[in-house]
Amino acid sequence: MSEENDRLQHLMARYRESCPEIDPSAGFMPRLWERIDARRSLSWRLRGYARVIATAAATVCFAIAVFQLSPFTVNPMYERTYLEALEADHTPEAMAFADLVVDEAGVKR
């Protein structure tokens, strides 16, 4: 196997010698800068769109926050105490209806 290894190394060394030296063409640098600029302009455009979207989202968030904190839009639910809410939920009519259901079915559902 060592002999094969040596032969492989020798072959690779010959391969290196056999590879031609390739010189960059005259258009290499201009084309490189064209590609850099093309990507730069794309990233600038994307960054611009992202900025517009972020600004719009921030504006909407701000508007929602102002609306929520506004004294004209207070939700009456949050104005009540726990006892008031409990009382509102258990009106005498509702309690009587619950008893009726238990009586007829025999089981409380």
Partner: protein, 196 residues
Amino acid sequence: MQCDFALIERARNGDDAAFNQIVLAYRKRVFGTISRLIGRPEDVEDVAQEVFLRLYYSLDQLRAAEVFEPWLYRLTVNAGYDYLRRRKRRHESLMADLSEQQLIAADSAAGGKQEADRRQAAEVREFVQALLSEVSEEDRILLTLKEVEGLSLRELEQIYQVNENALKVRLFRARQRVLKAYERSQAGAKPEGVAD
């Protein structure tokens, strides 16, 4: 180092003139490495541009100017790897290239030693490229960097960011696979230039 740290620092800070100088300093080396990695002279320039494009947009991620060269090598290897994978996906064969080279060789009227040397070099190149196409892109790149580019284990460690033992194992396995392909090729026709 083919350019000083200050130049790299300037390029990192967005100085396009400094970046231009870096490209000029390294393009020949990058061309050589890519040429040996992909084995297609007509695509070398395109892959090299991809390397420098990636370099331009990733310079700000470079930790320190001292690790610039391994960083550039890594970008070169990655671009070469992407190219080889793309080519494999397109099911392209090297045979098209070989016949083209053979045609060029046949077309040249001049005989003599120079012509014979050129033909022999082309045969060695074709043979090694056919051999390397038998193994994975990872093996091909690793072996090319070690055996053809002549990089040390330390340099490979910096490029692959793995420890020496892991690298030795990978190299051993890659070598074994190429040797198997080599043994298989021995059964077939061996080019004149490869004969011992």
